[in-house]
Subunit: 277 residues, 2 copies
Amino acid sequence: WCTKEGGDKVGFGVCEGKVLPAISNLGTPAHANICRSDSKKDNYSHFKLYGHWKSSSAWRVRTAMAAKAIPYESIPVNFLEGEHKSDAHSRRNSMMQIPVLEFVNTGSGETVRITQSMAIIEFLEEMFPNRGGTLFPADPIDRAAAREAAEIVNSGIQPLQNLPILNMIDSGREGREGLTGKDFGKLAIEKGLFALEAMVGKQRNSKGKGCGPYALGTFSPTLADVFIVPQLCNARRFCVDVESLCPTLLAAEAAAAQHAWFKESSPKEQPDHPSSM
Amino acid sequence: WCTKEGGDKVGFGVCEGKVLPAISNLGTPAHANICRSDSKKDNYSHFKLYGHWKSSSAWRVRTAMAAKAIPYESIPVNFLEGEHKSDAHSRRNSMMQIPVLEFVNTGSGETVRITQSMAIIEFLEEMFPNRGGTLFPADPIDRAAAREAAEIVNSGIQPLQNLPILNMIDSGREGREGLTGKDFGKLAIEKGLFALEAMVGKQRNSKGKGCGPYALGTFSPTLADVFIVPQLCNARRFCVDVESLCPTLLAAEAAAAQHAWFKESSPKEQPDHPSSM
């Protein structure tokens, strides 16, 4: 079966993509994203994602685009070389950050831009509730928990280990000893992942035997996984001992690595990923 | 008129509260929050908000509770005296932060807790779409802009000027010269408010003459105002020259100061606010 845009489950053979048997009624099938709505009827089209293979915030949005099965053009903005500070990019995003999602309002013909990964992902869910799969659990309390876990990463960890912030700390030191930007980032990641591990553990315990492999014990990835997976990758870059600190999050990461949405959004699958790495 | 839970506009005399005449169809009337749903029918009850009069994140949630006309018990957690690090509070919130919203699921009798201001506010909107007013604009692009502005504060500014972070920077310096925690916080606020002023200015310009007094040019406060108002208060504490930096945000703040939701959520109206200040 697959799900029809704006409607309920429809019969075999109605989807544009290949039809798979249902694998579970406890979550979205791993390949739900092959079921696409008729894009001609969409209110928005011509999606472009300004991002970078190494940006954890862009990675979140790529996973959400994969979950919603929205085709898009990937436009790299090399923040490692300062390209995000260009006039062209600051017109796209006053915060001079990535990602930026750009698209055309098919009614008015206007070009629209949205920044901030959380705002973009909420927009995609609101606009395409029945397209592809969903990162938002059906139960409102579970949905709140998914947003909570995502925000622990989004506002509690990632901003504190972001490159411009680390540079600000290092430049303020002007060659003196003391806390380096990298020390600061590592401490912030450790504090945040420790709390997230506890929060996620509590959620999973409450599910007991009915616990699925993803972060919040679901059988399909949620917003929580979308934010946790790229953050774990950053943690390793900062030499955080993730094996000791957050084993539950690592198990969720291993499950996500097998999922089509995460395979599609993986940094190494992006057009700007260096072939030498 | 007023709005009925789960339904459309209902006639005069149906609300529990005093019925006011409609004042505008361009936004939520200032006193829409007097129209309460029948609380006996609610799925959730006995709301408690763990917060503090001086916390900007708790202030955001207080405004959302006022917008949704949800009565709650206010429980101060004095983070200035380290009370957020207590065992009792870390059981409520693994990040050891405020706010925490606690309530009872009236069906199961279970106590539920949600942390992270953004997750709480989204939950309130999802659970009570037709109760009180709304902080979410009807148009999906406007709604994305409101979340975008809120996230610039939520993940782009506030985490970088949060007390534990400033303490971490100061303790890392161990008495040496260089960038202090307060310098760091001030720089982060200035960078963020500068970008937010540009983003909000662009949104308002696109509305032209049909521009309302709130941050995104609406005639009723949105999520953007809920996050901007407390942040401006923090900015002044860090001696940021807000008059030069963000005049448009200040105008929105002045409009919000006259609005019932913000009057109710104001720090000085909270039970733990020192009477001497």
